[in-house]
Amino acid sequence: MSAWIDIIVESVIKSIVVILFLLAGFGYITLWERQILGRLQTRYGPIRVGPLGLFQPLADGLKLLLKEQISPRNVKLGIYLSAPALSLFVALMAFAIIPVGPPIYLFGKWRDLALANVNIGLLYLLAILSLGVYGIVLGAWSSANRYSLLGGLRSGAQMISYELALGLALLAVVLLAGTLSPMGIVEAQHRPGMTWFVFLQPIGFFLLVVGGFAETNRAPFDLVEAEQELIGGYFTEYGGMRWGLFMMAEYMNMMTVSALVATLFLGGWVGIGTGIIWNVTTAPWRQLIGVAWFLLKMGLFIFFYIWVRATLPRIRYDQLMEFGWKILLPLAVVNLLLTALFVSLS
Amino acid sequence: MIVAVIHINVTLADWGSVLPELIIAGGMLLLMLVDVFVPGKKVNLTTWLTLIILALAFAASWNLWRTGGMASALYGTVTSDRFAMFFDFSILISAALAVLISPGYISTSAFDSGEYYALILGAVLGMMLMAAGLSLMVLFIALELLSLALYILSGFERFRPRSQEAGFKYFLLSSFASAFLLYGFALLYGVTGSTSLIKISTCLAGHAHGCSAAATSSPLLYIGIGLMLVGFAFKVSIVPFHMWTPDVYEGAPTPVTAFMSVATKAALFAAFIRVFSMSLSTVESHWYGALWALAIATMVVGNIAALAQSNMKRLLAYSGIAHAGYILVAMAANNALGQSAVAFYFLAYTFMNIGAFVFVAYLETTGRAGDEIASYRGIFYRNPALALPMAIFMFSLAGFPPTAGFFAKYVAFQAAVQAGHVDLVVVGVITSLVSVVYYLRVVAVMFLQPAEEAAPVEQPVPPEQPPAVEQVPASAEPVTRPQLPWNIDVGIWTAALGSIVLGIIPTGLLTYASESVTAVRALFGLP
C-alpha cells in the first residue's frame, strides 16, 4: 500500500515539474527566440519589460488571456475549442519518457530522473508525436475557413510524410542500442567501444534533425502556417489564448525534439571527458551535473532551431513533399540497412 | 548486456514447401516492375509472363504433390500436404484460364495490364496460402490478401458504374465478413490458447497439457464457431449471406468473375474444411446443425432464384450459390469421403464454371450483347465452336452423367449417405432436378433458329424444352463462321476437355483426392 502511495506521490510531483518546466521553457524560448532573431538582424529584441526583458513572457501571456475571444459563425464549436487543448495535451505528454539525468537516491529508493522509465519509451514517443497532427487537422477543419483547411491539410500531409523517415531514423539508433528505452540508449552510448551516436549515425542524426523540424512545423518547413500566403494556416480563426495554446504546443514540441536529439545522439546527461566531475557512477552531485549537461545540449539544439529560422528561406510545398518521400525515405532505409548489416555481423 | 543467440530454425526444405507461393509472390513483384519500366502497351508481354509464372507455380506444386510435401513447415504455420496441393491445382488452373481470356478484355476496357495481372497473382497467392495455412494468423492474412486484391479487381473498370458498384459493394460487405471471421478466430484462440490448428484440435480433444477440459463446453467456443461460420459462409456465398454475389459477379469484369467464382471458393472451402472438419472435428455437434440448415437453405434458394434470371452472369452467380450448397452437403458428411468429394468437386467446378465464363467473356469482348441470355439465340449456327463447349458446361453444371459435374455431385451425395444424412441428399437431388430447367434453357436458346432481324430478341423460351441437340436439322447451314481468337479457343476447349475427361475417368483423380484427405486427416489425428 505504501509502495503505491510512494509511486503516486512521486508521479504527481514529477508531473507537475514536467508541466512547469515545459511552460517556463515555452515562455523563455519565445523571449530567447525574439532576442536572438533581433540580434541576427542587427536590432534588439524585446528588452524593456523587466531586466533584460525577462518579464516579457508574463506580459504576453496576460495579454493573450485578456483578449476578446470570438468563434466565427460556421465553426463546429466543440471540435474548434478542443483542438488547441488536444495539441497542448499531446505536447505535454511527449516529454514523459525523456531522462534528464542519472537515477538519484532519495527517500530510500533509487528514482529515475524521467517521469516514466518504460521499456518501450521510443515507441511511446513516436505514438504521441504522431497524435500531434490531430489537434492541427481538427482545428483546421472545424474552423470552416479556406486558409485553415488548406493549412491543416498541408500540415497533416507534411507531418505524416516526415514521420516515416523519422521513425526509420530512430530505428537505426534502436538497432545500435538494442533497446527502446531512452535510459538504455543513453547508457548504450557509453559502453566500451561505443561513442555518441551522432558520430556512429551521422545520417540518422541528419534525418532526425530534418524530421524534427518538419514535425514541429518550424522554418524552413513552416509553410503550413505561412503567414504571407495562408494567413497563418490552421490557426487563422484562432485568437488570444486559444492561439496561444497552439503556440505553446509548438514550442513544447521543439523542446521535446531537442531533448530527444540530446538523448539519442548527444549522449544524454553524460558530459564530455573522463575526469572526476564527469564520472557518472560515483561523483557526488553527479545528478545535478548530469541535468546541467542535458539542459546545455538541449539548449544548444534549441538555439540551432532559432538560428535556422533566421537563416534559411521557406521551401516550396511540392519540394517539401518530394524531398520527404523521394530523398529522406530512401536515405533512411539505406541507413537502416547499413546499420543492420553492421549490427548483425558484429 | 549478454546477448543470447536465437537460431532461426528454418531449413531449405521449409522454403521448398512454399515454393509455389514464393514463385507467385516473385512473379507479382516482377509484373509490377514490368508495368512501370516497360513503356507502351504490353498486354501480350504481361499475359505471357503471367501464364509462365502460373505454369511454374503449377510445376512446383506438382513436384510437391509427387514428393508428398511437408506436413508442417515454417514453424508449423503452413503445410504443403497433398490436400493443399489439390486445391492449388484448382486455383492455378482457374487463374490461368481467367488470364487467358483477359487480353481481349483489357484491350476493350482500357485498363492497365501490369497492375491487373499483379493483382490476379496477389489474389492467387492469398488463395494458395489460404489452402495451405495451418495457423489462424496465416489464414487471416491470406484472406485479407485475396480479398483486397479482389476488391480492386471487381472495380477495375473504374469508368463503368456497374463495376464501381461491384467493387464497392464487395469491399463494404466482405470486409465486414472478414471482421466476423477475425472475431471468431480470436475467440477460438482465447478458448484453446493457440493459433495453430493442430494444437487447437489436440486441445479440444482433451489431450493437450494446460488446456482446460471445460474448453469444449465454453460459451466462447460456441460464439467463436458461430462467428467463423458467418465469416466463411459470407465469403463462399452461402445463403443467407449470399446477397452480394449476383451484383458483384454481374458488375465485375468477366475474367475476374470467372476467377473469383471458382478460386475464391476453392481456397475458402479448403480453409473451411481445415478449421471445421479437421480442427474442430471433435466438437462436431456444435456446428453440424448450423451447417445442415445452411446447406438446405443454400441449395433451395440458389436454385430457385436462378430460375428467374435473364442475365447469364447473374444466373451463374446463383448457380454458384447452389453449388456451394452441394459442396456444403459433402462437407456436412464430415468423413474422409466427403472431404475428398469437396476436393474433387472443385477441380470439376473449375473447368465447367470457368468454361461458361469464357463463353460470356468472348461474346462481351466482341460486342455481341454478351451476358443477356436472350441474345444467345441461334448462336450455334453462327459459331458452333463456341456453342458446343457451352452446352457441355451447362450439362456438366446440371450434373448429367458423362460429365465431371455428375461425378462431383454423385460423390458428394454418396458421402452424405454414408454419413447417414439422407435428408440432405434428398433436398440435394430435388434441387438438382430444378436446376436442370435453367441450365437447359440456356442450351435451348443457343440451339434455336437464329432470330429474324426484326424479331424481338426476348422471345420467351419454354423452360421445359428437352435438350435441343436432337432438334437441330443437320442441314441447317451457318450464316457465318467467324474464327475464334486462339486464346478463347484454347480456353474454352481446355475447359470442355476437363469437364468431359473428369466425367469419363474420374476414378484416378478421386483416388488422388482421397489420398490427399487421408494425409491431412492423419495430421489432425483423425482416422
Binding site: 507537475i16 470570438i70 475549442l81 514523459a96 518530394e322 525515405l329 | 546477448v3 519500366f37
Partner: protein
C-alpha cells in the same frame, strides 16, 4: 511492468486538466462584444461568398494511404531491431526479403506518379 505506466496516467490527467482549464479560461476572461462582421470567416477582407466545400485534392488521400502502409511496415521493424543482435546474419537476410517487397511497392508508386506533387 504495468506500474511503470502509472506516472504516464497521472501526467495525462494533469496535462488534460491543464489544457482543459486553459480552454475554459478563454471562455471566461476577456471582453466579448461580437458583431456580425467580427464573426464572419476571415477571407483577407473579402466578403465570404460561400462556406468552403469540405472537399480537397485526392492527393491528400493518396498520401494518407501510403503513409499508413509504410508506417505499419516501419513499426513492424521495431521488434526485429531489438533482437537483431541475437538473430545474427540470418535475421538480417530475412528482413532484407521483407524490405524487397516494400522496395518494389515503393518503386511502383514512385513510377506511377503517386509521389509527384
Amino acid at each position: 511492468m504495468l506500474t511503470d505506466y502509472v506516472p504516464i496516467l497521472i501526467l495525462s490527467l494533469l496535462a488534460g486538466g491543464f489544457a482543459a482549464t486553459n480552454v475554459i479560461a478563454t471562455l471566461i476572461t476577456g471582453p466579448y462584444r461580437p458583431t456580425r462582421e467580427k464573426l464572419s470567416p476571415y477571407e483577407s477582407g473579402m466578403t465570404e461568398i460561400q462556406p468552403p466545400k469540405q472537399r480537397f485534392p485526392v492527393k491528400f488521400y493518396v498520401i494518407a494511404m501510403l503513409f499508413l502502409l509504410f508506417d505499419i511496415e516501419g513499426v513492424s521493424f521495431y521488434p526485429w531491431a531489438i533482437i537483431l543482435k541475437a538473430l545474427r546474419f540470418p535475421g538480417f537476410i530475412e528482413m532484407l526479403i521483407f524490405l524487397a517487397f516494400l522496395a518494389v511497392g515503393y518503386i511502383f508508386i514512385w513510377k506511377k506518379g503517386a509521389l509527384d506533387w
